[in-house]
Symmetry: C2
Subunit: 148 residues, 2 copies
């Protein structure tokens, strides 16, 4: 599956990794706290996983959501598994704020206002704490030593 | 919470209902197989639920996805829990097709082509089978006898 983005590479900066999944920080303009839980094996749909693996995936999603809430107290957390462009199971976990450019629309809809670089920088400063928590809870980031 | 859409009403045509959640068909133009799993109690975030309830919610999401796949063989299933407008936990479960107006974008992004009423009608014809399966698997629809 070398034509699959999430088979060919990590899909973002790896924050934590287990045998079955990895958590990456996604570099999405305007949304500084945008993470993905990516299933390591190439499976397109949630129900392609057996129940125990679905539970593992959603536990990881919940861990990311919990870390975002604890560190950022976002207005809302958005969760989504779409995969239309990259049909390899992954969950978007995104901290949303009433000041962000797309609020209250989804991040995929049209912008509603300009970005707020100062507030975005405030969120950026908390990412280290979020990621330390996730690495501790879920698995040490080993991006540097794992083959891409 | 009378100002909450999903506390004030069902949020769609009820297909199945349990003590903890309900599955509704959403009337979303262009997406005939658009369902929602709505948690009955007013909780904004996924991690506001204890682990056992999160598992119940995701089992229901998986049941809907499975029924959509069996009956429609969609190009992709899209799952999302956003709640920016209605912060009452619900999951969108949407059958997506390469011919639909927004493919491969999310349903919340801009349309990419005109709708295809003939193919949409073909999907519509399968909803009864989908919903019979969900009612059987998850719980009989009792919209008529339950208070709104």
């Amino acid at each position: 599956m070398t034509d699959c983005l999430f088979c060919a590479g990590d899909g973002g900066r790896v924050v934590a990794r287990t045998q079955k999944l990895r958590i990456v920080h996604a570099d999405e303009a305007g949304f500084p706290a945008f993470y993905r839980v990516i299933w390591n094996a190439h499976q397109p749909e949630f129900t392609d996983l057996p129940a125990a693996d679905r539970a593992l995936a959603m536990d990881a999603v919940a861990q990311v959501e919990r870390a975002l809430r604890q560190q950022l107290a976002p207005t809302k957390v958005n969760l989504a598994s779409l995969g239309n462009m990259t049909p390899h199971l992954h969950w978007h976990v995104i901290a949303r704020f009433a000041w962000d450019s797309h609020w209250p629309g989804p991040v995929w809809a049209a912008a509603q206002r300009p970005r707020d670089p100062v507030r975005e920088a405030g969120v950026q400063q908390r990412l280290e704490a979020i990621e330390a928590e996730l690495a501790r809870e879920i698995g040490a980031a080993r991006a540097a030593v794992m083959p891409k």
